[in-house]
């Protein structure tokens, strides 16, 4: 039980990081991006590629399984994934944005998700890999609860990122512009804000957070090309549960989804674990479609 809660926190943190980017794009770019979860996979694998190419897996720091190169690789991967997201936006979404129905964008993102997943599969192959073969010794915190140092690192960094992002959105001009854009794009332009620039930054932030989620996933679980595919549903469930466009809501939504997935194993066969986000999603849509904390863009019509 205790262990399941701790594991739920872990996967919840990863879902939360992915869901933040998704909820921002849903709020600001106004479409459900099925390809967002693939940015998680892309980020994880770009970091792996950077580690391979530099070949410098310097020794791990302290109790962690990774060292400085891993962190550098993550930063490079954040940049790389941002470039990928901006390229996709430029090649596909920008062209579809001006068309009549916005569902065409959703459809387009559905196609893009398959292309990105297959490119990753093509380059890196289908087998599961790891960043490091270092074995970690789990710390026994209390009887019945073991935690890896990496997991603590992931949780800590997640908290730092969420707090920083909150301040960014509340205090900076760019953050203000993003919140304004989510409410009313036309009025935002009338206020003299270059909305294309804000859209670019939305992609960069979303892709960077997706990368961090992907690297954390790779660190604490493993790297597989299907990471993103399996995250599509948990990310959407978290974003909608938290209220579309609401960053803090997405974090809490992510934790709830992760926790529910983890605890579900106590009650239902593990094979159905991946269906838990869907059940949460159905429940939210039936009971409170605006989410727990109604977002800026609002879920209901």
């Amino acid at each position: 039980m205790l262990q399941a809660i701790a594991d739920g926190f872990m996967s919840g943190a990863i879902i939360a990081l992915g869901a933040i980017g998704l909820t921002l794009t849903m709020g600001i770019l106004r479409f459900a991006n099925f390809a967002h979860a693939e940015l998680v996979t892309a980020g994880a694998y770009i970091a792996l590629a950077v580690l391979w190419l530099t070949g410098a897996f310097m020794g791990p720091i302290g109790p962690f399984s990774f060292g400085i190169p891993m962190l550098l690789a993550m930063v490079v991967a954040m940049a790389g994934t941002s470039v990928l997201a901006l390229t996709i936006d430029h090649l596909v979404f920008r062209r579809l944005r001006d068309r009549s129905g916005h569902m065409t964008l959703v459809f387009g993102s559905f196609g893009v998700s398959l292309v990105v997943r297959m490119i990753i599969l093509l380059i890196f192959g289908g087998a599961a890999t790891y960043y490091s073969n270092e074995l970690q010794i789990a710390m026994r915190v209390v009887p019945g609860l073991r935690i890896m140092p990496d997991q603590l690192f992931v949780l800590g960094l997640t908290v730092v990122i969420v707090v920083a992002l909150h301040f960014f959105l509340q205090r900076t001009r760019l953050g203000l512009s993003m919140r304004a854009l989510a409410e009313n794009p036309e009025l935002t332009r009338v206020n003299g804000v270059d909305t294309n620039r804000v859209i670019r930054w939305t992609w960069i932030i979303g892709a960077s957070l997706a990368t961090i989620a992907g690297v954390f996933y790779g660190l604490t679980i493993q790297l597989r090309p299907e990471i993103g595919f399996h995250l599509i549903l948990p990310l959407f469930a978290a974003a909608i549960l938290g209220g579309t466009g609401n960053v803090i809501g997405a974090v809490i939504g992510g934790l709830i989804v992760g926790m529910a997935e983890s605890l579900s194993v106590l009650f239902i066969p593990a094979g159905y674990k991946l269906a838990v986000p869907f059940l949460i999603l159905l429940l939210v849509l039936y009971l409170k479609p605006t989410g727990l904390f109604s977002g800026s863009a609002g879920g209901a019509k």
Binding site: F34, F107, F110, G111, M118, L233, F236, P277, L281, Y286
Partner: protein, 310 residues
């Protein structure tokens, strides 16, 4: 009969059966603008539903009702409609993308059920040894396939004819209004959510019909026939053929399925064994590229919607 015509019959049965699925999807997307991201889920329900209803009684399985095929297929369609109702009631009054997300979710969940609920679905092995409809009346499998092709064509024709009638009816004309300008449709005093729900449930039961026919033809179900890729393939068929046009939906099914099988054949012949999996990835990637490229460069497909609108 030559090997090629034997293969052609087989190919057409599969392709035209996808055509039935395409017609259901076209009703949802082409006419009404509903995005169903879980096509394979409703197809699987139709297939598994029919298989469980028609299957012989086996003591290690829950199902095995030994019902006649027409009843079994209708039962599969009803189950697909029920699943559509559950998803539709939750999402169709909300923002349009919620339907897409929820359908994606139900397809994924149904895949888990197919894999894990062994006493109902046979798990990874699936349900095998189902009696194929009227198989005993034919001498060899080639003539049987010819018969089955005729059956698929007749059912496709009925579905097509029915849909053409439906979209030309006052109800059908409303669909475009729902898709193009929701507020205008609402101002006509129509219940948009109800119309959407009708379309979604009807479309999903047609997708279920296609699943049932598939099982009737091959005589077994297994989870490997219901991979998420199928959803993408069927979407590629519709967007290539031209959404909003029933002829386009069927044409797209034949064209894309031909491209898919030919490219698969080419890969197995040309690509070295050690590169087969990469070649397979490229083949799947092309489906995604096809969808994206069609949306950007030729959203009306080969033969798109006939009447106005953008």
């Amino acid at each position: 009969m030559s090997g090629f015509s034997i293969y052609l019959i087989f190919f057409l049965i599969i392709a035209l059966n996808y055509g039935i699925m395409g017609l259901g999807l076209n009703l949802q997307w082409g006419y009404t603008g509903l995005f169903n991201a879980g096509v394979v889920g409703f197809y699987a329900i139709g297939a598994y539903g029919a298989a469980i209803l028609v299957g012989p009684d086996r003591d290690y399985l829950i199902g095995g009702f030994d019902l006649p095929w027409p009843v079994a297929i209708l039962g599969g369609m009803a189950l697909a409609a029920l699943a559509a109702l559950i998803v539709g009631l939750a999402t169709l009054r909300l923002r349009e993308e919620y339907l897409a997300i929820a359908t994606f979710g139900i397809a994924l969940s149904l895949q888990l059920v197919a894999l894990n609920f062994e006493s109902l679905t046979g798990g990874a092995n699936g349900l095998v040894g189902l009696p194929r409809p009227l198989f005993h009346l034919f001498e060899d499998s080639t003539t049987y396939n010819l018969f089955f092709l005729g059956l698929v064509i007749v059912i496709l024709g009925i579905v097509w004819f029915g849909l053409e009638l439906a979209v030309r009816s006052p109800w059908g004309r409303l669909l475009r209004a729902v898709r193009e300008d929701e507020s205008a449709a609402r101002s006509l005093g129509k219940n948009i959510t109800l119309i959407r729900l009708q379309v979604f449930v009807l479309g999903c039961s047609l997708i279920g019909l296609s699943g049932g026919l598939y099982v009737a033809f091959i005589g077994f179900v297994s989870p490997t026939d219901f991979l998420p890729l199928l959803t993408f393939q069927v979407w590629a068929m519709l967007i290539v053929g031209g959404s909003g046009n029933n002829a386009g939906a069927v044409l797209g099914a034949v064209v894309v399925w031909a491209l898919w099988t030919m490219s698969g054949l080419a890969i197995s012949r040309v690509a070295p064994v050690e590169l087969q999996s990469q070649a397979g990835a490229i083949q799947v990637m092309l489906i995604g590229l096809l969808i994206v490229a069609m949306l950007i460069f030729r959203p009306r497909g080969l033969i798109g919607e006939k009447t106005g609108g953008s």
